[in-house]
């Protein structure tokens, strides 16, 4: 049996990489990808605890996280398309004002 800490360590490393992606990248789509990495790391933690403590709630939570991630991706990418259409760029530094 694999120690629970191994899974948690992998999840922590993945979450860190996702966070760094969000901070380092200036491309809006790449930042959204970083957010997906973070969400998946959190999901891994939830599934790990759910499995080790024999409690289904964690897995239900992951299901909801996935649904919210889908909604977030749909709205986020729509905003990205809108941004690109008005500014011809995906660089978030150039989109400092919310108004178009």
């Amino acid at each position: 049996m694999i120690p629970i800490s191994w899974y948690l360590a992998v999840a922590a490393v993945l979450f860190t990489i996702g966070t760094v992606t969000v901070f380092v990248k200036r491309n809006a789509i790449a930042m959204l990808l970083g957010i997906e990495v973070m969400l998946n790391a959190a999901n891994l933690t939830l599934v790990t605890f759910s499995s080790y403590f024999r409690e289904l709630a964690g897995q239900i939570m992951v299901f909801f996280v996935m649904v919210v991630a889908a909604a977030e991706a749909a709205v986020g990418l729509a905003i990205v398309i809108l941004l690109f259409r008005h500014r011809e760029t995906l660089n978030v530094d150039e989109a400092q004002a919310l108004r178009l």
């Binding site: 992606t21 889908a70 991706a73 749909a74 809108l82 995906l90």
Partner: protein
């Protein structure tokens, strides 16, 4: 055997995540994310969460990632140029934060090393998850459908081309 599989999945997941970070072209990042999602599916199977493993492939790899790839190709995104550093001192903040995060990971590993680890294989089969979802969590489950509806409406309204 289990440990070997775990190590393979762990190396794949972390390597793919690093690729997401280091690639300059968003398309390459998105494909690396696909590999990472596959590795996580392996973790879910190892942990006995079979339903989530399937959902991961269908929703994440099948729907969300395809949406990303579609938008990247639609916008014909170029690779990121090397950017001008505006505030060079911010870079040095990375050291204390990295140390803090590393300390946290070590602490967590220590704490959970002491706890017993019961094996989890029977939890997470589709029937059990479905039963929970449609009894205990019925209200949140129904609310997610409204959330998805709102997201679809929002996406359509935002991305619609205005007629003048």
């Amino acid at each position: 055997m289990e440990r070997a599989l775990f190590l393979i999945f762990a190396v794949t997941a972390i390597g793919a995540a690093l690729n997401v970070l280091l690639r300059r072209h968003p398309l390459h990042s998105a494909l690396a994310l696909l590999v990472m999602l596959g590795a996580l599916t392996g973790f879910y199977v190892l942990l006995g969460a079979y339903f989530l493993a399937v959902i991961q492939v269908v929703i994440y790899a099948g729907a969300i990632l395809v949406l990303f790839l579609f938008v990247i190709m639609l916008l014909n995104v170029r690779a990121e140029e090397a950017r001008i550093e505006r505030r060079p001192y911010v870079r040095w903040l990375a050291v204390p934060f990295a140390a803090l995060l590393g300390a946290e990971i070590i602490y967590l590993v220590r704490v959970f090393e002491e706890n017993p680890s019961p094996s989890g294989t029977s939890v997470g089969v589709t029937e059990a998850v479905g039963r929970e979802l449609l009894t205990t969590y019925l209200l949140p489950f129904e609310l997610t459908s409204i959330l998805i509806l709102i997201a679809v409406l929002g996406a359509v309204v935002l991305a619609r081309r205005e007629r003048r």
